[in-house]
Symmetry: C2
Subunit: 476 residues, 2 copies
Amino acid sequence: MRTLTSESLNPAILKVEYAVRGELAIRAEKYRNDLKKPNHGLPFDRVISSNIGNPQQKGLDQPPLTFTRQIAALTEYPELLKTGRDLFPKDVVSRAEELLEEIGSIGAYTHSQGVPLIRRSVADFISKRDGHPSNPEHIFLTAGASAGVSLLLSMLISSPKSGILIPIPQYPLYTATLAQFSGAPVPYYLDESSGWSTSPPAVEAAIEKALKEGIEPKALVVINPGNPTGALLSEETQRALVQLCEKYSIALLADEVYQANLHAPHTHPFTSFKRVVRDLQSPIALFSFHSISKGVSGECGRRGGYFECTNVPDEIVKLIYKMVSVGLCPAVSGQIGVDSLVRPPKEGDESYPLWLKETRTIHDALAARTKTMAARLNALPGMSCVDSPGALYLFPKLVLPEGALKAAHEAGKTPDTFYALALLDRTGICVVPGDGFGQRDGESHYRLTCLCAGVDEYVGALENFHNDFMKKYGGV
Amino acid sequence: MRTLTSESLNPAILKVEYAVRGELAIRAEKYRNDLKKPNHGLPFDRVISSNIGNPQQKGLDQPPLTFTRQIAALTEYPELLKTGRDLFPKDVVSRAEELLEEIGSIGAYTHSQGVPLIRRSVADFISKRDGHPSNPEHIFLTAGASAGVSLLLSMLISSPKSGILIPIPQYPLYTATLAQFSGAPVPYYLDESSGWSTSPPAVEAAIEKALKEGIEPKALVVINPGNPTGALLSEETQRALVQLCEKYSIALLADEVYQANLHAPHTHPFTSFKRVVRDLQSPIALFSFHSISKGVSGECGRRGGYFECTNVPDEIVKLIYKMVSVGLCPAVSGQIGVDSLVRPPKEGDESYPLWLKETRTIHDALAARTKTMAARLNALPGMSCVDSPGALYLFPKLVLPEGALKAAHEAGKTPDTFYALALLDRTGICVVPGDGFGQRDGESHYRLTCLCAGVDEYVGALENFHNDFMKKYGGV
């Protein structure tokens, strides 16, 4: 018999790339296992996974919110409402009882679109945030934002000529999903020199170029706050983007999973695209994504999130329902996580003081680390770095010496992969090379998270490595 | 601007059908909401969702296993290991501590393939079950079996000429996924007259027919125990199917999610395809699926499961890893559910007596209900029913009177949909018409679960409805 080979598989699969869990992450995993052996011979004693926005990962320091976890425990094991009731604050107990009353057992499938009560909570959250109504029937709870993005792209791509506008640099979920479903990526470039800003004329130029090439633009993806850039869009830019979608009849996919990760909310606030679309009374179809994985929640492992459909005709909402129903329902623990995200304790609730303390600590730590890291990386020779006002990342630019470019070429690696591998080999710090996100030809970047505690020691290791690397390859 | 319409979407999406959550389920949901109003005017006071194998659904009677939920609560909120330690059995405490030691926070992303410790637990379970070794590196934890099936079909379908052999009747996940990824379903018919048995010559005839039509058969899907049929394959049949896969170089997808739902294990035992493949030393590529949603676990809402790759080349395993990494990881609560499934309490553990009592009660209730329901449905005029030895369902055949066929035609419905809608309207019992699973032309069936407590009252309602329906349309 013939053996199953990759040649016999769906050729689109072979084109999928996802750098966040790619070569670097696989080598990091190997080192993590090697470190368990005595005499491992590695020049570091732990691997730090700065490649992925995973706040609660072992070795990082973002603890879960007590409120979220208490509700989770009570809904998992309702017997505790009898035997251990006194161990929980009153508001937590009543929230758990309310959820159990609605859901019954969390071991049961829910409505495929998500528990109705929780969708109503999400709609309340959105309408309070934006000052515009939100309809629970137009909200889909998902297994994280990724699942929703993947589903909607798979629906929007009707042929290899279907174009999806994506920022460069972008979170590689988009290029991976476009490769999987054989859509045409239509890149628009963000401007590093102005803090990774988005230029509506550049987006329009990308649309016009695509149209000339016979590509039909179907959707514009905007990530706000940006990933990997951490940039925040101005409302003026948002309005211009909505108007472009209107002009070209393009749907807007607003990836807003970092909306609660704001380091300078007074100078760089977050405005949802839902608000902008409604303020403008624009008829464009908008899909807005949010997640429990980021923000102060950081509950990546629960796989919870949602998307809201705005101006999406009922027949399409019904089709989306049909598609999600094949997958039955998102994990209920993730759905309950969404409820805790959008209905945190209120002032006066027994849980409130602890919740406030915990969330402030997380916000402050992330903002302080981001600032320190940006400042110190910026001070290094051959490195420059936008001081991100949002999200969890920095995306420094590298200007590497000729010797390094030559050595990378000889090793068969892009310069940023070569740099990132050397960094991992020396320090145990795993980052993602810029080519995984996209960048201008000839440029080099890498993305690292700002989640590691002990920022002095951490940046110190980055600095030492970088200085030695530059010295070795003749850069200083 | 042009509005987003279904015509502009991926045309494959429009072809997807998933009857389990289709027209009937949507009407049932409406009735469930109507019942909350006073003076609802409905002739029943509750909706019974017999359309879906959802054991812990409100109103049904399969409780969660205490062991599973205690571990879930402790891993959700580890503080309980201090404040409420005495509320939990010792083996539960030590299991939770072991899992937390490995995982850290369950709010963190795990390895995309699943937590290594849990994959080792799964491999132990498989090797004990089959008497053949199992490699944790070849196991992928998934968000239920559906997610794994969908992923693998999306990889195996390389063109619209890629054929996937599916049983008829089948669980509609398969036809839905084939429609979504534009593969060619190659049906093989199960034989109702011999207890829904699978005939290897019929499978081979289906392969030959496909080949003549220019279809390239890529995989054979076998559901064992069957869904919707509840049939169990004999080892002889399994061997013959493996040999067919070998002869035609076809991968085998073994959907074994009902392996623990056996009502007559002495006469109808379960043998895994992994065992058969290894016993035969066959080189065929086998993907075996299991889930925490069924069996005595019944934890549908957690979305947990796994698949094992047997004889799958490393390059393909790496591609699968790449694809699952884009989705980051399965929900950790589902992964922990898998651990509880494959590592239940052992004799001597503090949890064991309760676990044994709970699991026996579930097994006994399901077996008794299935037997009673099959016997009583079989006694009805115009209805016959294989007494399923496994899974959660019955799939009775209807021979409807001419008057009913005519009325169905006039209503624009298939006869079984017409019947099922009438049943729902009268009794509140929601079942799935046979055309959702596939059946021979001109036949009518429906699938109902055997999960509803109070079997006398439940079957009584079915009987009354059926007798009146037959009378109304001249069948008796």
